[in-house]
């Protein structure tokens, strides 16, 4: 691969990541606005809306699962890093390969059943908006595939001697 193609691919990846971030931010903002709308219509206009509850919950599920695979960087993850952070770069690579393979295999084995579960829900619809539940839950399929691809990438890089960059004590909401 020439340096130019690699550079172009990296730029493309960065562009995609920024769009993924835009979408996650949009989901969070939509969730927030649903709440505000709900509060205003209920208390100011005395006209409670049912669909806002539902829409905000859907945004929350999508924001979590979308964000987990497409937005979070390795250093944003909540992990037990006492062993990992003290290990040498070489050991880190070995650890990443082991956990990466385990994650790929287990999420991979579950994938057909996950797809079956989600497609089975095509008969159900959400209570207010009447959206097909398989559409709402399809994010989990995307999430599962994303996890497999992501750990494949991390494993591949670790095999070539590049462990992921993590910070000690990162990632928590407390």
């Amino acid at each position: 691969m020439t340096r130019e193609t690699t550079g172009r691919m990296l730029a493309g990846a960065r562009w995609l990541r920024r769009r993924a971030e835009n979408f996650a931010a949009l989901l969070l903002l939509a969730m927030f606005l649903c709440f505000i709308l709900q509060i205003v219509t209920r208390y100011v206009f005395n006209y409670p809306l049912g669909w806002t509850d539902e829409a905000s919950v859907v945004c929350w599920i999508w924001c979590t699962l979308w964000g987990a695979v497409f937005v979070l960087r390795e250093k944003d993850e909540v992990r037990f890093d006492i062993i990992y952070s003290t290990a040498s770069a070489r050991t880190r690579c070995v650890l990443t390969v082991i956990t990466g393979l385990a994650a790929m295999v287990l999420f991979g084995i579950a994938l057909p059943a996950v797809i079956a579960y989600v497609t089975f829900l095509k008969v159900e619809r959400t209570a207010y908006l009447g959206v097909r539940l398989d559409y709402v839950y399809s994010i989990y399929v995307l999430f599962s595939v994303g996890v497999i691809v992501r750990y494949a990438g991390l494993t591949w890089r670790a095999l070539r001697g590049q462990p992921p960059d993590i910070q000690i004590g990162s990632g928590s909401a407390l």
Partner: protein, 431 residues
């Protein structure tokens, strides 16, 4: 306990120890369990999706994160410093007291200790270390210790997580945290006074009374936040989740209309950072949802209950043991993992022993928050070390007196349930 369960626990521990994020470790381990127990693997998706879909109360978590981000951007909290100086600056160790007082007020605005540290950490430390008045390590230690008050005084993200696993009322849990939070602040002020006399820390120039109204007025937008939040929840106007959204809207309006210091870019970054933290904590919740399903079908909480029944434990002995276990775990694990995964194992026993679940929740959260500043894994210690540049070792040394004082406060709220339950009962809790 059969072998698929034992194997999956070992797998989760192994994945976690080797550095796989905890949420993924729990999901992967649970898939392994379903596989070995010949159950439908689609159950993993079902438990996570239905769990997230039906846990409306959890929406408070991203919303509280969002409001904290907005408050940080608007620098709303900077104006609190002078207000706190006016209140407690003139006592010995004044800046230490200011730091703690500021954390109490901020605790009423935000539900997260990390948000507290991010909002007030650097400016407090700069103020304390200017002209070498306080040692850097002490300034860092007291800032980290006082940030812990944040999630105990309402609102509180960890209490929302506890409400998810225990079905206790978020509103009463929040109320239950008020007295313990103040108790923790008093304990810390006691240590600060002690240290101030021992090391002869300076006293601040008293602020003339004629300046008080102006200082209070400048701090007013921040001071109103707890009033709006808690007033809204306890007058029955808003649910705690709606209050979280109102807090974010209020923080945004104050930044735009009052301080006028927020740009479109700042707003976008605040939204994006909240989305990122939401995904990070959401993965942990997802992992806990599917793992707790496995734990439930294996009837682990009931096994633990049966096991403990054999020892004829009294309620207070049980609480002592839970406290010791949580303090040890708090040194090693991230707090929300303990709340979501470990606490559900103890809750049925606590119920059987007649322990009030609001009392249990508040003391567990109090305990786990102490874990944020205990080594080797003390999240706030790492963050404050990064903010201040002080070596971790010296920060830990200066934090220890605060840890001991907080453990004494923990003992009080453990053995005097009224310290937690008095306020909720006053406002109608029937527990």
């Amino acid at each position: 306990m059969n072998s698929p369960f034992a194997i999956s626990i070992c797998a989760i521990l192994a994945f976690g120890l080797l550095g796989l994020p905890i949420g993924y470790s729990m999901i992967a381990g649970s898939i392994l369990y379903l596989l070995l127990a010949n159950l439908d693997l689609g159950t993993s998706a079902e438990q996570i999706l239905n769990g997230l879909y039906n846990s409306y109360v959890l929406l408070a978590v991203p919303l509280f994160l969002f409001s904290a981000e907005l408050m940080n951007v608007s620098k709303m909290t900077d104006h609190l410093l002078r207000f706190c100086d006016m209140l407690v600056g003139r006592f010995r160790g004044g800046l230490g007291h200011i730091n703690i007082a500021q954390s109490i007020i901020f605790a009423g605005m935000s539900g997260s200790a990390i948000a507290d540290l991010a909002a007030t950490g650097r400016i407090s430390i700069d103020m304390m270390t200017r002209n070498g008045r306080y040692p850097l390590s002490y300034a860092a230690a007291i800032t980290a210790a006082s940030a812990v008050i944040g999630p105990i005084i309402p609102p509180s993200i960890p209490m929302v997580l506890y409400a998810l696993v225990s079905d206790a009322s978020v509103g009463y849990l929040f109320l239950g945290g008020v007295v313990p939070g103040l108790l923790m602040a008093i304990a810390q002020m006691g240590i600060n006074t002690l240290m101030a006399h021992r090391h002869n820390f300076p006293v601040e120039e008293p602020i003339p009374v004629r300046e008080w109204p102006a200082i209070t007025a400048t701090a007013m937008p921040a001071l109103l936040m707890p009033v709006i939040l808690l007033g809204g929840i306890y007058s029955g106007i808003m649910t705690p989740t709606e209050a979280a959204a109102v807090a974010a809207a209020y923080a945004f309006l104050v930044a735009v209309l009052w301080y006028r210091n927020i740009s479109a870019r700042d707003t976008y970054l605040a939204v994006l950072n909240s989305a990122r933290s939401t995904a990070s904590i959401g993965m942990l919740i997802a992992g806990a949802l599917v793992f707790n399903y496995v734990v439930t079908i294996e009837q682990i909480p009931l096994t633990v209950k049966g096991l403990l029944a054999g020892y004829d434990l009294s309620a207070s002995m049980f609480l002592v043991w839970v406290n010791v276990i949580l303090l040890v775990l708090g040194c090693l694990l991230e707090g929300s993992t303990i709340i979501l995964v470990i606490l559900p194992i103890f809750i049925p026993t606590a119920k059987a022993l007649g322990i009030d679940l609001v009392h249990f929740g508040v003391l567990a959260v109090f305990n786990i928050m102490i874990g944020l500043i205990t080594p080797p894994y003390g999240l706030l210690l790492f963050i404050i070390s990064a903010i201040s540049g002080a070596p971790l070792r010296t920060i830990i040394r200066d934090t220890m007196p605060f840890v001991w004082a907080m453990i004494i406060a923990l003992a009080i709220i453990t053995f005097v349930p009224e310290s937690v339950l008095w306020l909720p009962r006053l406002l109608g809790y029937k527990g």
